[in-house]
């Protein structure tokens, strides 16, 4: 088979970062080619160059052995290159068909487009109603819309950026079937991922990238997750593992019969949620994004005086009506899903970001004035203890990489000695080194008696660190499962809503 894409000596740097250094490899026609690497390894930069989003500093791309100058995504589309992004760009209030027509370069009538889309859906088994609004679709279906939108342009090459990160195990296997059928019909798929098993299951070839350079391009046939992981990282990652079969006794945090009745069609109503958390326990809340995680987190944080029925107890104290500030003063700490703009302000320095979350602590204040000296020393402690890679606490938070910032934020909360730590997506989109560090820290923290709730879409993460896991599905929380008794089939069923 001949090469459809050839990268030749691609270089791309940003101030302070060499994102791609001398990247050269070929992608064979009609193959599934994975690009594997940690966050920050340069895989997104590379595909953005291929898709015309970024210009390389030097280097060439050959498409079908012809030199291609790809200045923009529309040039890329003309060359038959399409991309499905990790974050969807769909209009929630428009229907599927309306969203599809917005992505078309050519003029086409809505009826014609519907016919064409229907053919694609039927052929490959996308389960989509073209007339339903996006807001009524599950995340998996929304992804289908994105894929169909790309297929409408008759692509030769389809780039998919971390397509499985938002899907249930069931949806993933469906997606893989579709991808394999597409390849049979002549498509070449470039698949970006950092999940090792997936790459082995799905792809024919894999290019491993580390620190902007290609480590190697190999066939996946003789690889297993461990060998591939070692090639990706250059070192072995030890798994964080807690002791099993501990008898937890002291109750610390309780949610009783929590329900919401919002009329907003874009929110999920929570339905009779019960949760019991004991001292030193790590409790995972699994589930596909958009099943009420955001709403639950909002109630736990009490940011917007969200209306709900039911009760929340912290150490036998009803905290229903306590503000964020009061809850923090009770030594409940939070790390939200969004780092920039929620649990940290990108335009402010690390020191200021310490005070952002610690402004309830009197030691950082002198009356109405801020005690910057104390804050700075707290910040340097966090930086030191949690291996945050930054020259100083005066650096703006937005300048840190995702992994570093997350270490800083989690460190900030842990250093304040919380009794309850609530984390949402703690390792989402960060490098494997930071991820392992954070998981290890969480487990150690629980051993010191801190109770932890983790809301996450990442099942592997939850299975690795949690004692108990419940699944959130359309606002209902399943009964808790002990991690020791969990098998992936059962969890998959729960994530599809099959629990009582």
């Amino acid at each position: 088979m001949q090469s459809i894409v050839e990268f030749k000596n691609i270089f791309k740097s940003y101030p302070g970062v060499k994102a791609n250094q001398d990247v050269s490899f070929n992608i064979k026609e009609q193959s599934i080619h994975a690009i594997l690497g940690e966050n920050g390894a340069g895989k997104s930069t590379l595909v953005k160059i291929l898709y015309g989003h970024l210009k390389p500093d030097s280097g060439e791309i050959l498409i079908n052995s012809n030199l291609a100058v790809i200045n923009s995504p529309s040039t890329a589309k003309n060359l038959g290159i399409n991309m499905v992004f990790q974050h969807f760009s769909l209009f929630e209030s428009l229907t599927v068909a309306e969203n599809l027509i917005l992505g078309m370069n050519e003029n086409i009538s809505l009826t014609k487009l519907k016919d064409k889309s229907k053919t694609i859906c039927d052929k490959y088994g996308f389960n989509l109603n073209l007339n339903s609004p996006i807001s009524s679709l599950s995340v998996g279906q929304r992804q289908s819309v994105e894929i169909v939108r790309s297929l409408l342009n008759n692509p030769k090459i389809l780039i998919m950026d971390e397509p499985t990160s938002v899907l249930t195990p069931d949806e993933i296997s469906k997606l893989f079937k579709i991808i394999k059928n597409l390849v049979k019909d002549g498509l070449t798929v470039i698949f970006i991922s950092h999940k090792l098993e997936e790459i082995i299951n799905l792809s024919d070839y894999v290019t491993i990238m580390r620190n902007g350079k290609v480590v190697s391009t190999i066939s996946t046939q003789n690889e297993d997750p461990e060998t591939l992981g070692y090639k990706m990282l250059g070192y072995k990652v030890s798994k964080a593992k807690h002791e099993s079969n501990i008898n937890f006794s002291q109750e610390i945090f309780n949610i009783k019969n929590l329900s919401t009745k919002s009329k907003d069609p874009f929110t999920i109503n929570l339905n009779k949620i019960d949760l019991n958390l004991k001292k030193g326990q790590i409790f995972g809340i699994a589930g596909v994004a958009g099943n009420g995680q955001k709403e639950l987190m909002e109630i736990l944080l009490n940011e917007n005086d969200y209306e709900f029925s039911g009760d929340i107890f912290f150490k036998d104290l009803n905290i229903n009506n306590l503000s964020t500030f009061q809850r923090k003063s009770l030594s409940i700490s939070y790390v939200t899903e969004e780092r920039l703009g929620h649990s940290a302000v990108p335009e402010m320095s690390l020191s200021e970001n310490i005070f952002l979350s610690m402004n309830h602590k009197s030691e950082f204040k002198k009356g109405d004035f801020i005690n910057f000296e104390k804050i700075n020393s707290y910040a340097s402690n966090v930086i030191k203890k949690f291996n945050v890679d930054t020259p100083s606490y005066n650096v703006k938070a937005g300048k840190l990489s995702g992994g570093n910032l997350q270490k800083f934020i989690i460190g900030r909360e842990i250093m304040s000695n919380p009794e309850l730590l609530i984390l949402s997506q703690p390792t989402w989109g960060i490098d494997a080194g930071s991820e392992a560090f954070i998981k290890k820290t969480i487990v150690e923290l629980s051993q010191k008696g801190v109770s932890i709730i983790i809301i996450s879409h990442d099942l592997d993460e939850l299975l690795e660190v949690c004692h108990q896991i419940s699944v959130l599905y359309e606002g209902s929380l399943s009964n808790p499962l002990n991690v020791e008794d969990i098998n992936i089939t059962k969890l998959g069923k729960y994530m599809g809503g099959l629990f009582d």
């Binding site: 940011e303 964020t324 500030f325 703009g341 940290a344 302000v345 200021e352 952002l356 109405d368 801020i370």
Partner: protein, 353 residues
């Protein structure tokens, strides 16, 4: 092929350019302003001399510059609290008017007073009047989620009509030949001037003090921190446990009090009584001053002097060049236009495709 103008957010826009852009805006204003003079058949260089240099070439002129800059600076400093918090209080003119009514009312009520406490009381009531008028949009915003831009602007006209009512009605000077103005305030109700024979008054000190206090509040205090966080990200502000509704109230009250103070200074300083046109749009122009000064207290002092110069220049231009004094507003408008333009181009990349 359709050519479209495309706008793209710059991922890393420059802080340096953010602080330099007021200078760029002023330079562009002068450049394009010279065309206005050319169209009017005037020599741009001569005109600029009359507009920007001759007004401040003597001590009287410099005194007048500070007379105009004082209210602009005080109002703009107050407005910066709102703007930093992403609250758009457009009604400073009304708050200024209400401050003049409240504080001036005290002066008229005790018009035979010889007490040294009269002026401080008037100043206090001036601030209270402005703050009172500013709490109305704050209540409407926090209770009913009303757009504060509209309510504060509309309340400006209400305040102007209230002043109108008083000066043609109950507070009309019986010895004023029927003119719509009040009696003059007693001497104890007049703002002391800094130099004999010049109009520059102790309001200048207030402006400087407010500037320093604002600097400290913004950089050293919890309240300043809250404003900064809320202005940058409302979600982070909630995460930090700050009550946004309270911040809306505080910032409105502060900016209203500052505008009220400026209004009282106008009537008890240069004017000496209440009448219809106590302010040449200081409350609106101060919005330009605040943004031109980049919401930085010291920047606001500088920009208030520059904008004050456009007021003086316009008066001189009317006298010596025989052109309408509205040219001053044209210059103010141009500065704002170019400032918004440079900010936009700094934040976004624009290209045609």
């Amino acid at each position: 092929m359709v050519y479209l103008i495309r706008v793209q957010l710059r991922e890393d826009y420059s802080n340096l350019i953010f602080y330099l852009s007021p200078l760029v805006a002023v330079a562009l204003t002068l450049f394009f302003g010279s065309f206005i003079f050319l169209i009017l058949d005037l020599s741009p260089i001569e005109s600029f001399k009359i507009f920007f240099i001759s007004p401040i070439s003597n001590s009287y002129g410099i005194s007048e510059l500070f007379v105009k800059a004082t209210p602009l600076a005080i109002i703009a400093l107050g407005l910066s609290y709102c703007f930093k918090n992403n609250i758009y209080n457009i009604g400073a003119e009304g708050q200024l008017t209400m401050g003049a009514i409240f504080g001036g009312g005290i002066g008229l009520l005790f018009n035979d007073s010889t007490s040294v406490f009269l002026l401080p009381l008037m100043i206090l009531f001036g601030a209270i009047g402005g703050a009172f008028w500013a709490t109305i949009p704050a209540i409407l915003k926090t209770k009913f989620n009303t757009n504060e831009i509209l309510t504060s602007l509309m309340l400006t006209y209400v305040a102007l009509f209230i002043l109108d009512y008083f000066v043609v009605g109950p507070w009309k000077d019986p010895a004023g030949y029927g003119l719509p103005k009040s009696m003059p305030f007693p001497d104890t109700g007049r703002l002391p001037v800094l130099f004999d024979g010049l109009r520059v008054h102790i309001g200048v000190y207030f402006a400087i003090i407010i500037c320093f206090i604002t600097y400290i509040v913004y950089n050293k205090t919890l309240f300043g921190f809250k404003l900064k966080v809320s202005g940058l990200s409302s979600k982070a502000s909630q995460y930090a446990g700050f009550k946004y509704k309270n911040l809306i109230f505080y910032t409105f009250i502060i900016s209203g009090a500052c505008a009220g103070l400026a209004g009282l200074f106008e009537v008890s300083g240069p004017i000496g009584l209440l009448y219809r046109d106590i302010s040449p749009n200081y409350g609106f122009t101060a919005i330009i001053v605040a943004f031109l000064g980049r919401l930085n207290p010291f920047g606001i002092i500088l920009s208030s002097l520059l904008i004050a110069l456009t007021y003086l220049g316009a008066e001189d231009a009317q006298l010596f060049l025989k052109i309408p004094s509205a040219v001053g507003f044209v210059f103010q408008g141009l500065v704002l236009f170019f400032l918004l333009g440079t900010d936009f181009l700094n934040k976004y990349r624009v290209f045609i495709k």
